[in-house]
């Protein structure tokens, strides 16, 4: 049976009154809105923190190409994605194009991260996580961990004994001793092969001897 269109409004009103429907209180909508914006700002902040920690990890590894802080890059991207997702739920988000929303969140996180980095918050955050999360260093290794990996061709430490013009003994930062063959190694000009020198070496572990390809100072930039 066709409903009489003129009575549609009457039916709805009857329905509203019969079911005692009431408008949802304004505070519920306001609360949802505030929560969304809070989550958005939190995502941007954590993204910024991730970026500042990423900068710190690069810096502490002398911007070395042997180490890339993938964990922090992924964290940054994850929180930007989350920020976009939250923003898309806000009332006026549909008026903006998707790339603009993502780029805005990205640059906001980067700007905030740079500011946090200026205050060494990246370092503090890294230390805090290392202290409280047992597995953290496995995904965000320190420079000493990156450079104490002889099976991967990386070794670092202090020269503790000159054995011959082409070899010396190195004690790594964990206290282990290594014999290093430097016969075919490229030695950076700033390096003086002498006792007490702190260095990092790339090469190949052959039995008990670490055959060096290149020797660099422990601190400072890669190229010099």
């Amino acid at each position: 049976m066709k409903k009489n269109k003129k009575s549609l409004s009457d039916q709805v009103l009857q329905n509203i009154q019969k079911r005692h429907l009431r408008p949802i209180p304004k505070w519920e909508f306001l609360a949802k809105n505030y929560l969304l914006w809070l989550l958005y700002l939190l995502s941007i902040f954590i993204g910024g923190l991730a970026f500042s920690t990423l900068i710190y990890m690069f810096k502490s590894n002398d911007w070395d190409l042997y180490y890339f802080p993938y964990f922090w890059l992924l964290s940054l991207l994850l929180f930007i994605a989350f920020a976009y997702f939250i923003f898309s739920k806000t009332k006026k988000a549909y008026r903006l194009e998707l790339p603009k929303i993502i780029l805005f969140a990205f640059f906001l996180s980067l700007a905030l991260g740079s500011l946090l980095s200026f205050f060494n918050l990246g370092q503090k955050f890294d230390s805090l996580l290392a202290k409280d999360l047992p597995l953290y260093r496995q995904v965000a290794p320190m420079k000493t961990q990156v450079w104490t990996n002889p099976s991967a061709g990386r070794l670092s430490g202090t020269i503790t004994q000159i054995i011959s013009p082409n070899s010396f003994e190195l004690t790594d930062f964990s206290g282990n001793q290594w014999t290093v063959d430097i016969q075919k190694a490229i030695i950076r000009p700033s390096i003086d092969i002498s006792l007490g020198q702190e260095i990092k070496i790339t090469g190949l572990l052959q039995g008990d001897v670490f055959v060096a390809n290149e020797i660099k100072p422990w601190s400072g930039r890669l190229s010099n």
């Binding site: 269109k5 549609l8 409004s9 009457d10 039916q11 009103l13 509203i16 408008p23 949802i24 008026r95």
Partner: protein
């Protein structure tokens, strides 16, 4: 008494009063029920009962969400958005046929078609109504959506953007692509 009082009030005032007394919401419904029913009928091929169901559900949703009514938008735009979403939900659940029903006066649409295509007005006039409807029904749903709102509901780009919750640039692109697709289908025929 309220009916007479309602006539002097604008939508914003009626919304504020509806929050206290549902009788004022009745006035809003009377103001928009025919327009919204016609809109639903235009882009979904449904029985009058189904159209009524969609509009009823939309009004109930609108009443419950009155406190969330976006003050920056026109009330009608907000209402259209609710109706559009309810219609889409109905379409998805019932797999209703997403077919357009044209109003008698579709001159705006014809003029738009003629403007940037090679199709001559006389040609369209010959095949008007059924032929246009057939072609419109072959367009992608998102194209039909914008065309119905632009040419048959007389909404501007900002309103369409607010109803469909898409950026204005996207709305413009959809309308432009709809024209291209319409022309392709027309020329094939």
């Amino acid at each position: 008494m309220i009916d007479r009082e309602c006539q002097k009030l604008d939508d914003k005032q009626l919304v504020a009063l509806s929050l206290e007394d549902s009788q004022y919401f009745y006035c809003l419904m009377k103001r928009y029920e025919d327009k919204l029913s016609a809109y639903v009928h235009r882009f979904l091929f449904l029985s009058p009962d189904d159209v009524d169901d969609i509009v009823e559900n939309s009004f109930i949703k609108a009443y419950e969400h009155l406190n969330d009514c976006d003050c920056d938008l026109k009330f009608s735009t907000w209402l259209y958005r609710i109706v559009h979403n309810e219609a889409i939900n109905f379409f998805k659940k019932s797999r209703a046929s997403f077919q357009v029903s044209l109003p008698e006066d579709n001159e705006n649409f014809v003029n738009w078609l003629v403007a940037d295509t090679d199709i001559e007005k006389e040609t369209i006039a010959l095949h008007q109504g059924q032929e246009i409807k057939k072609i419109l029904n072959q367009l992608k749903p998102e194209y039909k959506d914008v065309l119905v709102l632009k040419f048959f509901e007389d909404k501007d780009y900002q309103e369409i953007s607010d109803i469909l919750q898409k950026p204005m640039g996207t709305v413009a692109t959809l309308i432009s692509r709809a024209k291209i697709q319409f022309k392709k289908i027309y020329e094939k025929k």
